[in-house]
Amino acid sequence: MAVLNLPTRRRTRHRLSRLSGVWLVISALLLSGAWNLPAQTAASKEYQIKAAFLFNFAQFVDWPPDTFTNASAPLCIGVLGDDPFGNILDTTINGEKIDGHPLVIRRFHRLEEVQDCQVLFISRSETRRMRQILDALKGRSVLTIGEVDGFCKDGGIIRFVTEQNKIHFRINPETAKNSSLTVSSKLLRLAQIVPPGGD
């Protein structure tokens, strides 16, 4: 709402003197909405860093041999739901290859669209459907990454957590194993390990 009201405000600035009374009331009404609004920047520093993490995760995980149809088939990093990265994810992986597989970004609005994707970042916008999404992906060799409470508990593999202003990540090795993914020991060493059923 805050973002929405800005252009309006700018346009009406020259008429402020006449409209000030009305505007005050509108502003006051908007206040409550603005208060709960997350900062909708194109890509905040947080997501610039998270994009680099995604790129790293893809390098430290091995997929089963039958995942790729050929040696130069693309490795897909998908974003399901509202994309918090803007174009930063594209910029990050632009021109990169992992073991000969060129990286591509795909964006999905619905679970059903998710096909041939090896890494899947599940956005906050899917929080209410998270359980359902993760259940549907169970056993498929998809590295699921999320950032909401309960993500690992619901069956997600890697969850971002912000601690002391810094981004850390948790891994549930059990779920990774059930998805036939091999997580490198380096990644496991840096991660907070989630026990089965934990978050």
Binding site: A2, V3, N5, L6, R13, L16, S17, S20, G21, L24, S27, A28, L30, L31, A34, W35, L37, P38, A39, Q40, T41, A42, A43, S44, K45, E46, Q48, I49, A51, A52, F53, F55, N56, G86, N87, I88, T91, T92, D149, T162, E163, Q164, N165, K166, I167, H168, K186, L187, L190, D199
Partner: protein, 657 residues
């Protein structure tokens, strides 16, 4: 509030609401609030910066995990880009030095003058003017100013923290007057403890030795749910008497008990609520009189809301009560009520605004004695403050200019204005050159205006009715460089001009008042280095040169009574070494040149720590001030010999679960 609110928001170019035709007061408040909460989105730009992406992409996971996502305080700017002489003492520096108290930990900042007087008294300052009642340094513990309006300084014996929970201590030398509160004339010390979320689990430690006779501490950190964390802690220590110059026991043994809690609640990713409090009590032996007793309690609440990387706001309130009774001479009960907020937001693509305001009420009640008195005995002191700073990016990633000012109204000297301008040039990622010009004032305190000796006429010292604030204009120039990933160097130089410094003026033979009849110049530089010699070996070193030159400006000023007793040169050194088989060996050493008046000889000494750490257990043996049997560090009185600090050892056992 009045100051910053008035000058910062209403007239701020971002808001362009000047044409408003006299809105009603209620309307104005709504307008301000509405802007306050909606505006942060204005300056946000699509920061889809390909350079940033390329930079993060090249980083290791470890490096990515060390980047701060948002900066939530005035000073969480990365050290390398800060336009001031800042030194940071980390948790690890503290743990590995074997220090056992907050003042001892401050010795690790190469830009501070730290002198221990006896088992419980300290003189701490920066860039000169050190004394037991040093008055040009602002000290904060988790945002709470530990300031006594009695002498505009700090009673160091009342300031304890559980060192295990300290995240870092930021020490800024040079005026911090613009952004920080009253008294940030020569520097700011900011003690920051870890959040409850970062101090989960059990910590127990205990031990004993020669000077530090026995001590114990415990902390438990737990969580109510995944958003609400808490910790509780308690600690106790008994310190032995330190000796006089002739080796005789000075009878100043000190015991201290403190407990406290902290709760951190994260209702959402953008909001943090903190509630924390401490209570302490202690006593100090006196040679002839009964013990000095002290106690205190404080509670602080803070709400921080992060709108984006460039925008946040915080609201903080605390109540602090501190009491001390020296029986024969005086007793003081001080209650401080403080309220502060600050707000940071971008203005267009090139400007970042920080503004804030605060109100403080200090109820200072003194019990006088025949020997000395404060008149009136009880005073309520109010302090209104506001600040506004605009940081302008002149050349992206290269050149920044920050201009700002602090406004303040205190009950002694009235309205004070403390502006500063700071220029930061970062020619590349490894180098920073900065320059600053600032004005700062040291507001008067009760000892400057209300202090009478003895308590009945004829007075030897009859207050300082006309005492005004002490003024400083400071010129600073600094350079920081990282020649390699293992080495970082910092040089800060300064030229300080003081006017209206405190003087002791003769009114008639044998009768004095306090006045402002000294002028001074202090110049010097601070050099420091951090070197990671190997993965298992880290070195820090510092060298300070400072020279103070004071001249009386009135014939009535007593020329021999000058503020502070400071060395010209001091060196510090720390080595932190991890050895095989879980052993650690750490050394800190220091040299402080002689103090001029009263004369105290220069000294060299060092501390050493040998520890064995395995899983949950740590065993440590610490020797402090090992070089000589005993040495003096400070003397505030020209009539009494300096008290001395003995060589000492202690052992410590720690469990962390």
């Amino acid at each position: 509030m009045r100051c910053a609110g008035g000058n910062g928001v209403i007239n701020g170019p971002a808001f362009r609401v000047k044409p408003l035709p006299q809105p009603s007061p209620g309307g104005l408040i709504i307008l301000l609030l509405a802007m306050f909460f909606t505006l942060p989105a204005w300056g946000q730009t699509a920061s889809t910066n390909t350079e940033t992406a390329a930079l993060y992409k090249k980083m290791s996971l470890e490096q990515l995990m060390s980047i701060e996502v948002t900066s939530v305080s005035k000073h969480s700017e990365k050290l390398s880009g800060t336009a001031s002489a800042i030194q940071v003492i980390t948790h690890d520096d503290i743990q590995r030095s074997g220090v056992s108290s907050l003042p001892e930990a401050l010795r690790l900042a190469p830009n501070l003058e730290v002198a221990q007087i006896n088992s419980h008294d300290w003189a701490i300052s920066t860039r000169g003017f050190n004394n037991t009642t040093a008055n040009k340094l602002l000290v904060m513990i988790d945002g709470r100013a530990v300031y006594t309006p009695l002498y505009a300084g700090v009673f160091w014996d009342a300031q304890s923290v559980l060192l295990e929970d300290v995240d870092r201590i930021e020490v800024v030398s040079g005026p911090g007057g613009t952004l920080w509160g009253a008294n940030a004339v020569n520097g700011v010390i900011n003690v920051i403890t870890r959040s409850a979320r970062d101090t989960q689990g059990i910590y127990v430690s205990g031990g004993g030795g020669s000077l530090l006779q026995d001590f114990g501490a415990g902390r438990y950190g737990g969580s109510v749910n995944s958003n609400l964390f808490y910790r509780v802690y308690a600690q106790h220590s008994d310190r032995n008497d330190t000796p006089l110059a002739n080796g005789i026991d000075a009878t100043n043994a000190w015991d201290m008990t403190q407990g406290g809690f902290r709760m951190d609640y994260y209702p959402s990713e953008m909001n943090t609520l903190t509630l924390q409090g401490d209570a302490y009590a202690g006593s100090e032996d006196q040679p002839r009189n009964s013990d000095v007793t002290l106690d205190g309690q404080n509670i602080l609440g803070r709400w921080t809301r992060t709108f984006s990387e460039e925008s946040d706001f915080s609201l903080q309130a605390y109540v602090d009560r501190t009491w001390r009774d020296t029986h024969s001479t005086f007793a003081e009960d001080l209650k401080t009520y403080d309220f502060d907020f600050q707000h940071r937001f971008p203005l267009g693509e090139r400007q970042s605004i920080v503004w804030g305001a605060g109100y403080r009420l200090m109820q200072d009640d003194v019990r006088n004695s025949p020997a000395l008195a404060f008149f009136p005995a009880n005073r309520d002191l109010q302090l209104f403050s506001g600040f506004l700073q605009d940081e302008i990016t002149l050349v992206p990633d290269r050149l920044k200019f920050a201009i700002g000012t602090k406004f303040e109204h205190n009950d002694f000297s009235g309205f004070e204005i403390q502006p500063s301008g700071r220029l930061t040039w970062t020619p590349d990622e490894r180098q920073t050159v900065w320059a600053a010009v600032s004005r700062a004032v040291r507001s008067p305190s009760r000892i400057d205006t209300d202090f009478f000796v003895p308590a009945t006429p004829p007075y030897f010292l009859a207050g300082g009715t006309n005492f005004d604030s002490e003024k400083l204009i400071a010129y600073e120039l600094g350079y920081r460089v990282r020649p390699s990933d293992r080495l970082s160097l910092s040089l800060a130089s300064y030229y300080n001009f003081y006017d209206q410094l405190r003087s002791l003026d003769v009114t008639s033979p044998g009768h004095f008042v306090l006045a402002n009849h000294f002028r001074g110049e202090v110049w010097g530089f601070e050099l420091s280095a951090n070197y990671q010699a190997a993965a298992w070996w880290r070195l820090r070193a510092g060298y300070d040169y400072s020279h103070k030159y004071l001249t009386p400006t009135s014939a009535s000023a007593t020329p021999s009574v000058r503020e502070g007793n400071d060395p010209d040169n001091q060196f510090s050194f720390q080595s932190v070494m991890d050895l095989p088989a879980h052993f650690q060996i750490d050394v800190t050493a220091r040299y402080v040149e002689k103090l001029p008046t009263p004369h105290v000889p220069g000294y060299f000494t060092f501390d050493a720590r040998l520890a064995w750490q395995y899983k949950h257990v740590e065993l440590a043996l610490v020797g402090q001030n090992l070089w000589a049997d005993r040495h003096a560090e400070f003397n505030a009185s020209s009539t009494a010999p300096a008290q001395e600090i003995p060589r000492s050892v202690y052992g410590k056992v720690t469990w962390r679960f």
